[in-house]
Amino acid sequence: MTIPRDTKRVIALQEELHSHLPSDPALRVKALESLLVEKGLLSSATVDRWIEVFRDEVGPKNGARIVARAWTNPIFKQRLMINAIEAIAGMGFPRLEANNLVVVENTPRRHNIVVCTLCSCYPWAVLGIPPTWYKSFEYRARVVRDPRGVLKEFGLELDDDVEVRVWDSTAETRYMVLPERPPRTEGFSEEELAAIVSRDAMVGVAKVITPERRS
């Protein structure tokens, strides 16, 4: 089956759809699901399953395990930096969009931050569904131009002599930040370390903080 894939045609079609369909997205999405099920193009049970998968299985816990292992296992870290997808192959994560995962490392003199200016590409396989701010126009527009200003809004002020590197996910490469291991975590197990690694730190808008002494 050949589908016409013409830009002018779709621009006109989008205009037509917008002028005819109701404005409430909840109504439209409900009608779309019923319609596709009736047409035999969709199973609602599959929709449920995807929601369960991203609620229960795929999320920033995956990335946190990678970070914790890199902090505690120098050989794993070396492999991770050279070829991330091979290094994490045994850890049981989905592939999804991460067939070209690249890990970029923060150091005291270099801070990395990830964005997708053209849409909202994000390493779902290791971080789950992106947070709302990552998908916002404000973040997409501003972070390539004023990363330090955006980071300040997240509460992260960088010294002038720290080099900032912004990674714009324009292809199917997916970027994940390896944050700095925080001080006073020498005795932590890999699991304990994974528990303190936040999603925001793996996107590059936060640092990992040493937890308060546990009682």
Partner: protein
């Protein structure tokens, strides 16, 4: 395409709203939309480059006033309507007036693990040596077709250096429109102060992954 989706460096946007998002609830329309997109039979097969481009073709004011999962709705509605698989009346009523011929069966829930473990892969076999080597200085072309492309506008005309070579990858400009072509893909690093008037940090950088045909020697 020079559209509002290409927003790197655009000014006029205020502070980032840091409110935490809602969790995925099966009853919420956003979660439904998320699941629908991953579950429905797409006309002509799942084509991520086409999907992105169809969203770029939203009316500019609608793009800027719609939320993330609502833009997914407009994308999928347009993908289906463009193929003639749904009509506007059907999208309004939610009632099917016809069934598209040649459409396959709806993926069942137990297809999910296979999709998860295989994923999307833009890598293609190498067809030769890349034109640029690590460290080469390259200029992003003024490339702005009326169609899909992944060369952001804020980089066009600027010079950077090749930081990494990713091998051959499917070219979105071509595959979005239904053909297949692959090219060497590079990560190119640009000095932020070269891109923007108002940057004072001497070493800050912006990196983007760019296909060979987007670049020329500088």
């Amino acid at each position: 395409m020079d559209g509002v989706h290409d927003m790197g460096g655009m000014q006029g946007f205020g502070p980032v709203d840091l409110s935490p998002g809602q969790p995925l609830l099966k009853t919420d329309w956003r979660a439904r939309m998320f699941g629908i997109e991953l579950s429905y039979v797409q006309p002509g097969g799942f084509n991520l480059d086409w999907m992105r481009h169809v969203m770029e073709c939203m009316p500019p004011s609608a793009y800027l006033s719609s939320g993330y999962f609502d833009r997914w709705y407009w994308r999928d509605a347009a993908i289906l309507a463009n193929a003639g698989w749904v009509g506007i009346d059907e999208l309004t009523s939610g009632k099917a007036a016809f069934r598209p011929a040649e459409a396959g069966d709806a993926p069942p829930p137990d297809a999910v693990p296979a999709i998860l473990s295989h994923g999307v892969d833009s890598r293609r076999p190498s067809k030769g040596l890349p034109a640029f080597r690590l460290g080469d200085r390259v200029r992003a072309k003024f490339h702005s077709p009326l169609g899909a492309t992944r060369l952001p506008r804020y980089l066009r005309g600027h010079v950077g250096a090749v930081e990494a070579y990713h091998g051959w990858h499917r070219l979105p400009d071509v595959s979005a429109h239904g053909d297949e072509q692959a090219e060497p893909l590079y990560c190119v690093g640009f000095l932020a102060r070269d891109l923007w008037d108002d940057v004072t940090s001497p070493r800050d950088m912006v990196f983007a992954d760019l296909w060979e045909s987007y670049l020329e020697p500088a």
